[in-house]
Symmetry: C2
Subunit: 111 residues, 2 copies
Amino acid sequence: MESKLAVVALGALAHETRLQIFRLLVRAGSAGLSVGKIAEALAIEANGRLTFHLKELVVAGLASSRQEGRFVFYSTDYVAMNELLRYLTEDCCGGLGCQDIVESCDAEHCA
Amino acid sequence: MESKLAVVALGALAHETRLQIFRLLVRAGSAGLSVGKIAEALAIEANGRLTFHLKELVVAGLASSRQEGRFVFYSTDYVAMNELLRYLTEDCCGGLGCQDIVESCDAEHCA
DNA sequence: GAAACAATTTAACGATTATTGAAATATGGA
DNA sequence: TCCATATTTCAATAATCGTTAAATTGTTTC
């Protein structure tokens, strides 16, 4: 993972609402959730601001969206998530027994 | 981990220089590195900006500092790091086989 | 023990970027 | 067409960034 990508991803997560959205999507699995369901789960309005935050997560590569009828579903990109976690802990303690931290939660595993 | 703590920690990491500092400290282990060494390793100046970034990491709980002679050493708080990673991936996919992602890299393990 | 030096911190400034709310605009389904 | 869902636009507000310069802390030397 490149440094700038990680910065963008971390910046996307460094926001109260977006962090809750992300954690919600992580729990939701690959199926994802519609914008309305996300708003309902977090007790916020499904307005322009929510769209803005969702887009930030997508631009950061942490989530993706797909349209189904008149609903738009958002879901976590588990591969990107794991790349980010691995980037943060890369070569931990000089590589003395601290590698391979993140080995689950990839797309296929969580499908 | 509380939500606001995570936001602060992520915000601290969401910066090119601070992210590199953090990754450098993660590699360095519990012994840590002096401000001068950090500046040298990242090829940046040991000026006010660097101090500001280091402080951000400390305030965010991701690093700690100790004075040794006229040098100040900064080191990763591995417990906080793991709490953050765990918070991000908590109950991944509804808890279906995606838990216990981060189990190494804690303070004692990496000492 | 005081002056000189190195390492680190604090403070001030303008410039850039992120966040918000409100209103208008698509898009799909009954 | 009409309604529900979701997105876009835009201007105002707020937060963050980097540079520079001055101040502080600890060490050494005379």
